[in-house]
Symmetry: C2
Subunit: 371 residues, 2 copies
């Protein structure tokens, strides 16, 4: 693919693998779709890996090929932004299990048919191992990792799995494990997908008729958790949708209903239902302390990275107390950690929205690390 | 039906109506299923109406005919309990729109076929009007109203619509209007039901094959809102379901998944999907202040009732601030109001669980009112 300054440098690489997975299986070959922005400097010290969230992709600062919308983090990544192609070699790859070009349930297995549910169940660490393979391929040894939500989980996992490769780590609106409530919401989404007869046990690719209704319901339920109660009240309250009085029926009377329906419907155009199953599963399995006797600090012992954690006060999906417990663990492990809770009315979604304070924090942290 | 002291006195009455509904339609006849416990005293001053929640019924202190489980509020209603058939004439009726015997989508319309989606969309006030018709039929003029969750909304509506009939009113874990987030969760549930092909536009009664999968997903999503995050963590955390390690598949690995699936599956045996649509709609439409220029206090002017409000500190469905705003409105309207926030780890569901403090509050309040 030709390099286009405006859209970054979108590519795909198929590495031979095998990639040994936490579940015991392995993946080979390993196809990874990614974008890069900027240039790796002579001593390969300016690389920043950006890790995306559940339904994100590698087009962090480029137009999305399906929706035509700007990249999902143009507020953070771009000219004059904290992560700047003029100074940094920026890499963002689509996680394995996803559906934007990296190996996932929709890609062809050895027999030529889509993996579908034959794709192995993966973990956050498996995603990170694939990223490490990509960075090896790109000649990047040490790096800075930045991510929000599930992206933050990957950053934490980088710090644990590759303690000698991570120089600096920025974790925004995230957690070191999925709580019972987090798992519960994901399970509702998975059940909504699997209850859709069009899911067909995952074998819907040939039909051109995917389980859109189930996936839309899953997205609607999840979307509520991305917003704060106060934010929903401020944005929608009980305002009606293009009418003066309630309709005494089951159309979308309220703006919040119309908004949620739109979120559900537009999501199914850009995302694969099976990928949603696999990635939510990986998140639910995430518990960084588990292998370390339940003591999170042990996960970070030996890490040479500097850590920066940011939470938002109205985020009830990954609330501030989750970030705080990570910081306490980092402190206990003797790692360098800074933490700030930012104020925002927008709940978990705040990290994707205009947040000048977040930009200041990330910019300051990266520059203090010589980036 | 014969009177059975142990099970209360379960009956059904078909009143001629018509019942004029908020939506402009009317309902005739109006069948109401109800139970009574105890005896109306000579001056008809000891009547207590108990109003049930979304998926509740009139078997408040009697064995449920489908599940065989004890009544849903045996902790509050019964011998030696705050609401006691030895002293009170207790009435609990199934709300219209429901599926336990009162007029609802599953009941036969004039043409002999089930109403299904031809049943008129109703409001909380319509439910209350039907209850008033029942109480007229039972010779009860003035009464005390008690309810939690949607039951509390009915109690508030009684205070507004029949200010001269309500002597005392107990509102537990409730709100005077549905918030944007409340509406959002209900909309997810409705979409899950309507996305199920077996819903068939509501015409599934003949098929004997109802939209169970969609209804189960709706129940699962709603159930999360009934529990607190801390309660889920305490009860389930990340504990695995009958296994030593995660299964790297899509079975219920975690106890919280298994629990939620069970909640969904057992619900569909006892509840009608169309009723779920109608009752959630009624709740979403609920906004007591709306007809009063948005000023809740105006809804209570002229009320002679004493009000008692109780909230639970971990209830995020109808949080304490909702009860507090009702108390402020009652105060502004010059109504007698007492309020207490109780501590419980169990979230919204706390009002249905063993809660000695709740019992003490209700008992004291009723006795102070001469009941």
């Amino acid at each position: 693919m030709e390099h286009d300054e405006r859209f970054g440098h979108a590519r795909s690489v198929t590495l031979p693998g095998p990639l040994a997975l936490d579940g015991g299986q392995s993946l080979a070959p390993v196809t990874i779709a990614y974008e890069t922005y900027g240039t790796l400097n002579a001593d390969a010290s300016n690389a920043i890996l950006i890790c995306h969230a559940l339904t994100g992709d590698h087009h962090v600062a480029s137009v999305h090929p399906v929706t035509g919308k700007p990249g999902w983090w143009v507020r953070m990544v771009g000219e004059g932004r904290p992560i700047d192609p003029a100074r940094h070699f920026i890499v963002c790859s689509n996680v394995i299990g996803s559906c934007m070009g990296s190996a996932g349930p929709a890609t062809a297995a050895a027999d030529g048919a889509p993996y579908a549910m034959r794709f192995p169940v993966i973990t956050i660490r498996d995603m990170v191992r694939a990223q490490a393979m990509l960075l090896d391929h790109l000649g990047v040894r040490t790096l800075t990792c930045v991510g929000g939500s599930m992206g933050g989980m990957q950053v934490l996992e980088w710090g644990r799995t590759y303690p000698d490769r991570v120089q600096s780590a920025v974790i925004v609106a995230s957690a070191a494990r999925h709580s019972a409530q987090n798992i519960a919401f994901h399970e509702v989404g998975r059940q909504a997908i699997m209850a859709d007869p069009k899911w067909r046990g995952g074998d819907y690719y040939e039909s051109n008729d995917p389980p859109a209704a189930g996936l839309a319901v899953a997205r609607m339920a999840a979307h509520i958790t991305y917003l704060s109660e106060a934010g929903l009240t401020e944005k929608f309250g009980r305002q009606l949708q293009a009418r003066d009085a309630v309709g005494f029926g089951f159309d979308a009377d309220f703006q919040v209903e119309s908004y949620l329906r739109h979120q559900g419907l537009s999501f199914v155009d850009r995302f694969d239902a099976n990928s949603y199953l696999y990635i939510t599963r990986a998140m639910d399995y995430f518990d960084l302390a588990e292998e370390h006797g339940g003591l999170l600090a042990n996960a970070f012992r030996g890490s040479k990275a500097r850590f920066c954690l940011v939470s938002f006060d109205t985020d009830w999906l990954y609330p501030t107390r989750e970030s705080r417990s990570i910081v306490q663990a980092l402190n206990a492990a003797g790692a360098a950690a800074s933490f700030v809770e930012l104020s925002s009315p927008y709940g978990h979604d705040a990290f994707l929205l205009e947040a000048p304070e977040l930009n200041r924090v990330v910019d300051g942290f990266l520059r203090a690390g010589g980036l």
